[in-house]
């Protein structure tokens, strides 16, 4: 199961395909916080049969897409400190109120990246243990959101499994992840291990087992 080299790997779903799978699983009328980076793609794949409200933890509910160059307002930014817009029906609030939305269980879904996810739903995504420690709102989001979705490559750049029996990196939260969307599969965290919800068309469950450290079942 260990030390698969990158050049042996099967090419999985691309990030747009993963994002569209997540977008399909967000129900109409959900309040959603998309993490900085890859998860931001999800909003591009929401179908017309539903309306989703995006929350940005720096006090913005009803976040819209990036502004045109001439519409940039440096007082209107997202949690990644990039200029954004606000949609009709949106609102501003201060940081304590914004995190009341998160901690109080009012955010239906958050979608985050990961370094490691354990078979019991532990998540490590804020620290490699090196460099300046910086956590931002990640710990609040995983502790507070009703459903924590992880969007990730199945393997690290070095070809090691990110889905593991036990995380080795500092945790962001313990037992917090509900579902993982990787380039190889969609998996739920269950009492019995990683449950495959959908398997990439090009790979087998046996292969998935070789690139995953922890019990997998269908």
């Amino acid at each position: 199961m260990t030390n698969i080299f990158t050049n042996d790997l099967i090419k999985g779903w691309d990030r747009n395909t993963i994002a569209s799978k997540i977008a399909n699983d967000l129900p109409h009328s959900s309040y959603v916080n998309l993490g900085i980076g890859m998860p931001e793609l999800v909003s591009q794949y929401i179908k017309e049969d539903r309306e989703i409200i995006y929350h940005s933890e720096n006090g913005l509910l009803g976040m819209g897409p990036s502004p045109n160059e001439n519409e940039i307002d440096l007082d209107l930014i997202n949690a990644g400190k990039k200029p954004v817009t606000i949609l009709p029906g949106g609102s501003f609030c201060h940081h304590a109120d914004s995190f009341s939305m998160i901690r109080g269980g009012h955010i239906d879904y958050c979608v985050l990246g990961a370094m490691e996810i354990s078979v019991t739903g532990d998540l490590a995504n804020w620290s490699t243990g090196k460099g300046i420690p910086a956590v931002g709102g990640a710990m609040d989001l995983v502790a507070g959101a009703k459903n924590v979705f992880v969007m990730t490559q199945h393997l690290t750049k070095e070809g090691k499994p990110k889905l593991v029996r036990e995380c080795t990196l500092p945790l962001t939260g313990a037992g917090v992840v509900s579902r993982i969307y990787s380039d190889y599969a969609v998996l739920d965290i269950t009492n019995d291990g990683f449950k495959v919800i959908q398997l990439n068309e090009d790979i087998t469950i046996e292969y998935l087992r070789t690139v995953t450290d922890g019990n997998i079942y269908q």
Partner: protein, 237 residues
């Protein structure tokens, strides 16, 4: 598909409310008190309710009427002795309704805590008084505090001034009071509102309750004015 939290019928907005529900009722005295929603609950006949509110109702309208109909088994409030209170004292003096007294600021903070995912907090309010009895104590910087726990509810009944289809709310003057924090603390917030606005008419800087805390809205354009209703001897039903 568009989000639309606005309901047309009182029966629809109240459809989920069940016997034995815990319901937060907004308002401080009559300001911000959701009289029509409470009357809807009388029509529905829901029983064994626990009410969390600042007061225990005036006259025989709104909360006073609901209590008079014996639909309430317990009231959690800061001040159950208002000048115009009729039905609560009647039942309380007969031992037919329970009362839990909570200091007003502790009541507000316990409600906000529930909405903010804070299961408990420490406060100096009530230390050394009968209302601190049985509560955990803790010393911070040499001073004694007591532990108060979050207070949540199945439903919040709220009155606001304007709403849009997302459930964003504004209030009028001191009718704001407990309403915004009750919206945060209830599983479902049901809001009666004087005026419905288009989302584009709602200034994002001026929203007091963001729609994330609101599940359903009903338009009651000309709500009953409690003071007048009591003067006119109104009773409900």
């Amino acid at each position: 598909m568009q989000i639309n939290k606005i309901k047309k019928e009182m029966t629809e907005i109240l459809s989920d409310v069940f016997d034995g529900s815990t319901i937060m009722v907004g308002g401080f005295g009559e300001a911000g008190s959701p009289i029509e929603l409470l009357h809807g609950l009388i029509d529905k006949g829901t029983k064994d309710l626990t009410i969390i509110a600042n007061n225990s109702g005036n006259g025989r309208v709104g909360l006073g009427a609901l209590i008079g109909q014996r639909q309430v088994k317990k009231v959690i409030c800061s001040f159950a002795r208002s000048a115009k209170g009729v039905t609560f004292p009647e039942l309380y003096n007969k031992g037919e309704i329970e009362l839990e007294v909570v200091p007003q600021g502790t009541l507000a903070e316990r409600i906000r805590a529930a909405g903010s995912g804070i299961p408990g907090f420490y406060t100096a309010t009530g230390v050394g008084t009968p209302l601190a009895e049985g509560k955990e104590e803790k010393i911070f910087n040499g001073k004694k505090f007591i532990l108060e726990e979050a207070l949540k509810a199945d439903f919040a009944f709220v009155k606001a001034e304007t709403a849009d289809r997302y459930g964003n709310l504004t209030y009028n003057k001191t009718a704001r009071n407990f309403n915004p924090i009750m919206c945060m603390a209830a599983d479902k917030s049901l809001v009666q509102v004087k005026k419905i606005l288009e989302p584009s008419e709602m200034n994002p800087e001026h929203v007091i309750t963001p729609g994330i805390f609101v599940q359903s809205v009903i338009n009651i354009e000309n709500p009953i004015i409690e003071t007048n209703a009591i003067e006119e001897g109104m009773t409900y039903p």
